[in-house]
Structure formats: structure tokens, C-alpha cells
Amino acid sequence: MAVSRRGLMATAAALPFLMRAEEALAQGVQPKRGGTLTTIVNPEPPVLHIGINNQGPTLIVAGKMFQGLLRYDAKLQPMPELAKSWEISPDGLEYTFRLQENVKFHDGQPMTAEDVVFSIMKFHMELSPRARGVFGRIKEGIAVDANTVKFVLSAPFEPFLLMFDVTVSAIVPKHLFDGQDYRQAPAVAKPVGTGPFRFAEWQRGNFIRLERFDDYWKPNQPYLDAIIYRVVPDSQSRRLALESGQVMMTQSNDIEPFDVPQLRARPNFEVKTEGWEYFGPLMWVEFNHRVKPLDDVRVRRALTMAVNRDFIAQRLWFGIGKPATGPFHSATRFYDGSAKTPGYDLNAAKALLDEAGLKPNGQGVRFTIRHMSLPYGEVFTRLAEFLRQSFRQVGVDLQLESVDVGTWSQRTANWDFDTTINYLYQYGDPTLGVERSYVSTNIKKILFSNVSGYANPKVDELFTKGRDAADPAVRQEAFSEVQKLLVSDVPLLWLMEMAFPTIYDKKLHNVITSGAGVHASFDDVFLA
């Protein structure tokens, strides 16, 4: 078959991330051995073992020492990592993974199918709520031979293949954990994985040093000799460290959004906001539906229309992130752009509030509610102030409460708030990361459950249908409908699809090559 030029271009367009990975090569820059990457980690992780702790900074650092079976491109398509190939049986029940050969753990022991079965069926099942939710559906995990693993599900589960990234199911050494209390095992303090970098040194409060693993399974990789994560707690100091060249890269929340434009303007820095597609973080205003008048859909819609989401994305986050269109992040599978949450319209908002019987008093105030700002940095304080201004325009008085992380976590979990800000990862699939915020069966006094208290039987039914259907077309249908329903019920005020800037010296190559960005193993990152 002759490949037309048009066909080639279509392929290229479909694979933007593979192209990006090869970008350095295309520019004629050859990967080069050697060099140390000094970067920042913030906040400092409490422990460095994946699974034992799954906080963002831990995942970024531990992602260099551990690997999953798969990784994912920006379109969430699986790519090989510790699994070189995989098959799904036609009934959607059996998943067979063939493992790379000659993979060694940092202690020299070979990585085999036994380690994979142990990691999935025991280690993460025991430790991680997120893994538990999905891996509980595995009826049987079998090490067919040293290099083949088979998982048999009790019922088809279409998003199953999204669960094998290092950030959710890293492969850990069975011989160092089996039969012990995983949290107290000696290996927790000295992580042993299969990744391109091994644990070298951690001076708490100061730095973490990872060094090249010479027996890494990809020949001649990794290119870097070492990666050093410096612990720098102050955001202005982090910015200075980057500007003065004391570190070469920052990521995640390291740099406040309002500092990004100046850094963008510098010719020696690359600023990328890609690499968060696998997580799909969506930010919203959480409404507590138990608090009047937030139980009234007209009020929630009016408040939605009082907020200029473009302003938030452009002026508070300086273009890092996009205005949300509804309950799904646009990178999440089954996103339906046709279901749109109402836009900025002050007059319509006022009319709706009038209709709800909430007339302004002498001071022009219709009602007063509290707002607990999210204690994750300066930008969220600014967001809270912006929301107060916005709501004031339609006669709603927002009283701001400043809290620390502990207070925020407890009060949000205990439904002790009127409104607050929250952002959740959607993990690529509505069943994995969206459903939990809306279904009534998940109204619990636990963070990241349905703390707003929203309940709609039809929504429950559609999420169940979407979860259980094996056929993507059926799932699409259910999720399109759920998006329409949610947009009309406005259970939450969706604000922004978040992203986080990765800023690095242009001498560094191949930094963002997947939908998980800086969480990747960095086995292909090099300095040139």
C-alpha cells in the first residue's frame, strides 16, 4: 500500500507526543551521557517509597527509582515500560502482559512475574485506596512464567489498562516486602526499584540524591549520572534558585503562576504546561448542598454565571491551565465538549437570584456565605479574593476564612464548610476520577468523596452504566448524558483545567515525553 503524504501527516498529528520525544533527535541533538540534573522538590516528601506514600512530590522523586508496567502518552494511549507487550481477551476479562527481559532491581535481584503479581495483588491493594478500588475487581493474578503475567477480572472493566502507570502501581521487589508489615519494612527507608536511578542519599530538609543505576535494563541508558532534588521551602527562593542557575528545572507547584511570565520571557528557559494529561486535574468551587440557599440549583447556576473563568485562567494563572467547560477535564476520556456549563453573565445571574426569592437588602446583599480558601499557596488566596469580588457583583457576600492544611482537610471531610476550593485528579477516565465526586453512594465524611452531598439517582445510574459497560461506545453514550445532566444541575462550580509549569534550562532534553510528564523515569533525559 502506498502511503500518501496526507496519510503520513495524519499519523504525525495523531502522535504529537512521540514526535516531541524525538524532537531532540530531529533537531540533530544526539543524546549524550553524563551530567547531573539539579532540580527542586517541594514540599519535601515524608518518605520516598512509592505506595507507602503517594503524595505528589513522592511520586515525582520515586518515579525515577520505580517503574510501572505501562506509561501513557498525552492521549492516554498505553506505551510499553516494564511490559513490552500486552493482550486483552475478546471478552475483556483477561489481561496478559509480557515483561521486558533482564530487568533487575537495584539490589541485583531479577524482576519477575512474581514481583508484578505481588505488587498489584498485595502491596498496592493493601496500601492504596486508589489501587484498591480497581484491583479489587481482579479475580486472579497469575505468574504464567517468569516473564508473563495474567490478570483475570471478575467482570469487564474497560479503564483497567489505565491503571499501570508508575504513579499508581509501581512494581516493587517481593523479596523485600512479602510477609512483613509493608509500612515498617526496612526497604521503605532505602527504596529498591527497577528504575534508571537508584537511591543514594537523603539529607532531610536539604536534598535527595539519586544516582545512575548501571544495570538498568535499557542498554546505555539513562544518560544522566545523577539527579539531585534540593528542598527549597520558599517560593521566591525557588524562583531565585532557578533564575540564578543554581537549579536547572522546576516542576509542579514550585513556581507560583504569577512568576511564570517573567521566566517565560527568558531565552534560556523552556516553559511547558504539558505532561498532566494522565492526571487531568480539574479545579472547582465546592458547594455544600446542605447549606441554604446552595441547595437551590438556581443559586448555584447564578454563582457560576457570576464568575469570569477566563479571567481566572489568564490573570490569576497566567495562561497555565484552561477555563473548565464542565465536570470533565478535556483530556479525560469521553469528554463531551457539547455539554457546557453556563458562561459569565451578571444580569442573568441576578435574574436567577431574584427568581429564587433572594432579594438584595439595603446594602445590596442577598445572602452571606463562608468560603474556606485552599491553603496551597499564594495564588489560591488571590483566587478566594477574586471570588469574593465576583459574587459581590451579584449581591452575594462571601466571607473568607484562612485555614492551614490540617484544618482544611478536616473541615472539608466533615462537611464543615459552605464553599471551598478543591481540585481533583481525574486519572484519565470518568470511572477512575470523576464518578467519586458526584455519585450519592460516595457521600462520605472522607476527603475526595462526594463531600458536597449532591445526589441525583439518574446520575448514579449513568455512572454505573458507564463503569460496567465493556463497550466504549456504550460508555460514551452514558458519559455524554451524565455531562449534560451535571451541567444542568451545577452541583459544583467548575473553574479550571489545571496544569503546572515545568520550567527548565534548554540544555535539558526529553523532559516531557508522556502524559505523566515529570513523573516519568527520566531514562531518556540528557544534557547537551
Binding site: 547531573t36 539539579t38 514540599p43 519535601e44 515524608p46 518518605v47 507507602i52 506514600n53 503517594n54 503524595q55 505528589g56 492504596s128 485506596p129 486508589r130 484498591r132 478500588g133 509500612r183 515498617q184 521503605v188 527507608a189 539529607q203 532531610r204 530538609g205 536539604n206 536534598f207 540524591r209 545523577a226 539531585i228 534540593r230 528542598v231 527549597v232 521551602p233 520558599d234 521566591q236 527562593s237 531565585l240 534558585a241 533564575e243 540564578s244 543554581q246 492551614d404 492544611v405 490540617g406 484544618t407 482544611w408 482537610s409 478536616q410 473541615r411 472539608t412 471531610a413 481533583l424 485528579y425 462520605k444 472522607i446 476527603l447 475526595f448 468523596s449
Partner: protein
């Protein structure tokens, strides 16, 4: 000082000190537990997902499923045997965590302490000697400026000047990481990193000591025994050193005692701005993460130090000023 009464005095003071420390431990325990949120809910919040079992597991592991009085009892029992407990969050013993941070903390606070006393007392003495002249005015204005300027701002300005504009000194951290250095090279490297944070932290205290020294020296200089000394024909420099300064030292020692008690606690602000791996930051982060054991460990050590330095200060009075008797 009557030497025979000294052991009894010391024993009495030590018993009182122990009671005070114990009371502080108990107060801290309840204060910390009164703050909303617990370590498990915070870890859940930072992990981005949680279920009931996850929280239960963590709370059981952290010992938070026990009744409060039981937790207090276990902690007190530990403290009495000098066991400060275990941070489950960080999977390390509190003693080890504190011990790790101690050298960096003492280096920073100690350097700032010595710098502050040396420069502060000198400045104060100079100003007092030339009271009313322009050099006195310069010193007084400088001291007032240091005293009134927020620490973090001084820190940031020093960084802007010495790290960003002049590129002489590193802006953060305690040492260069990932470079091979000789022993001397390492010492110099740490010294370079130490300069800005120690200066930032020290400047405030320089101001305090300068003002204190100047004020008390002027007060003492008016007293009869100084006039007598002068009338006897003692040289001015000697009067200043032997008669005025020595008598003016009491308030300075009092304040130095207070500051010395805080040496081990480090400084949250300066450690944060300069990413200095000290105990102040450890405590602050433990507070945010509700890492109870670590926080109580820091409080325990600092309260012991404060009580201890109070005692040492009292003893020092007697050495500096023979009129003060230990009793």
C-alpha cells in the same frame, strides 16, 4: 558565693526545672491535639485519594486510635526514659530527626548569636562612649533600622544583592551538593552558604544588644563609683572596660541567656527563606502536617534548653557581679 550551699541550691533548681518541663510537655500535648485535623487526614488530603480503610490503617499505625489520656501516658512514659517517640509519617525516630538537624541549627543560630553579641556590644559601647556625636547617631539609627525591619525582607534583599546582582554568594541551602570538595573546600563552601542566613538572623539581635549596651552603659556611667574611679585618675579606657562595661553586662547577659535558650529552636523564617535544613523548619513542617511526635520532641528539647540556660544565666550573674549571691 558560699560553696557549701551551692549543691543544695542547684538540686532545688533542677527539681523545679524538671517540674516546669513536665508541665510544658503536658500543655503542649493538649495544645497540639486541640488543633483541627490529624496526620492521617492530612496524608489522605495530600495523596489525592482516600477511603475509610486507609484512614483507619494510618490512625492505627500512628496510635491515634487510642484514647487521648492513653496517648499522653505513653508519651510521658517515653519522655521520662528519654525516648522521644517515632514519627510514623516520616518513618524515623524523633531523636534521629532532631539529631540530623541539630548541627545545621547550631551552626546557624550559634554563628548569628556570636556575631550579634560581638558586633552589638561593640556598637553599643562605641555609641555610649561617644554619646551625642555623629557616630553615636549613625549607630543608633542603624540599630533602630535593623530592629524594625522584618527578617524575611532583610533576607530577600541580601539575596538580591549578594546572590543575584553580585553573584558572590549562593542564595539557598547549606552546601553545594553533587560536587567533590576537599575538607577545607567543604568548610569554605559551608561558610559561604552560612554568611547570608547568619547575617540576616544576627542583624536583629545586633540591634537589640547595641541598644541594650548603650542604654545601660550610659546609666552606669553616671554612677558614683565611676566618678570615683575617674577622680582616682584611672585611665578612661580602663574605666570603660573594667567599671562601666562590666556593670552594664547584666541586662546583656539576661538577654543573651534568653537568646541562647532559643538556639536549638532555630528560626523558621530564616531557615525557610534560605532553605537551611534546621530544626525551626522541621517544627514548622511538623506543625502543618500534624506530626505530633516530632513537634512535641522539638518543644521538649527547646523547653529543656530554655530552662537550662535560665539556670546558667543565674549562675553567670554571680560570676560577673560579685554582689549577686546564689541563694
Amino acid at each position: 558565693m558560699e560553696l557549701s550551699r551551692f549543691p543544695a541550691y542547684l538540686a532545688g533548681r533542677l527539681v523545679k526545672a524538671a517540674v516546669v518541663v513536665l508541665a510544658i510537655v503536658v500543655c503542649n500535648f493538649f495544645l497540639i491535639h486541640a488543633a483541627p485535623g490529624d496526620p492521617a487526614s492530612i496524608i489522605a488530603g495530600q495523596s489525592g485519594s482516600a477511603d475509610a480503610r486507609f484512614l483507619e490503617q494510618l490512625r492505627a499505625q500512628f496510635g491515634l486510635d487510642q484514647p487521648l489520656y492513653m496517648q499522653l501516658w505513653l508519651y510521658l512514659k517515653g519522655v521520662l526514659t528519654l525516648d522521644l517517640g517515632f514519627s510514623h509519617r516520616q518513618q524515623a525516630s524523633v531523636a534521629a530527626l532532631l539529631w540530623d538537624r541539630l548541627p545545621a541549627t547550631l551552626l546557624l543560630t550559634g554563628a548569628a548569636f556570636l556575631f550579634a553579641i560581638a558586633i552589638g556590644v561593640t556598637m553599643g559601647a562605641l555609641a555610649a562612649r561617644r554619646v551625642g556625636t555623629w557616630s553615636d547617631s549613625v549607630i543608633t539609627v542603624l540599630a533602630l533600622t535593623f530592629y524594625a525591619t522584618p527578617l524575611f525582607w532583610v533576607g530577600l534583599m541580601l539575596v538580591l544583592l549578594f546572590s543575584v546582582t553580585l553573584e558572590w554568594l549562593p542564595s539557598f541551602g547549606m552546601m553545594s551538593v553533587g560536587v567533590e570538595l576537599s575538607r577545607i573546600g567543604r568548610v569554605l563552601d559551608i561558610g559561604k552558604h552560612l554568611l547570608l542566613p547568619a547575617l540576616t538572623l544576627g542583624l536583629f539581635y545586633v540591634a537589640v544588644y547595641a541598644r541594650l549596651t548603650r542604654a545601660t552603659m550610659l546609666e552606669v556611667a553616671d554612677q558614683d563609683f565611676v566618678k570615683t574611679a575617674r577622680a582616682k585618675g584611672v585611665p578612661e579606657g580602663r574605666i570603660l572596660r573594667r567599671h562601666v562595661l562590666r556593670n552594664a553586662m547584666l541586662p546583656v547577659i539576661t538577654f543573651a541567656g534568653i537568646q541562647a535558650g532559643q538556639l536549638i529552636g532555630g528560626s523558621i523564617l530564616v531557615e525557610t527563606v534560605f532553605a537551611w535544613p534546621g530544626i525551626g523548619r522541621l517544627a514548622f513542617e511538623a506543625l502543618l502536617a500534624r506530626d505530633y511526635q516530632v513537634l512535641m520532641g522539638v518543644f521538649f528539647c527547646t523547653s529543656v534548653m530554655v530552662v537550662l540556660f535560665n539556670l546558667i544565666t543565674d549562675l553567670l550573674y554571680a560570676v560577673v557581679d560579685p554582689r549577686v549571691e546564689v541563694s
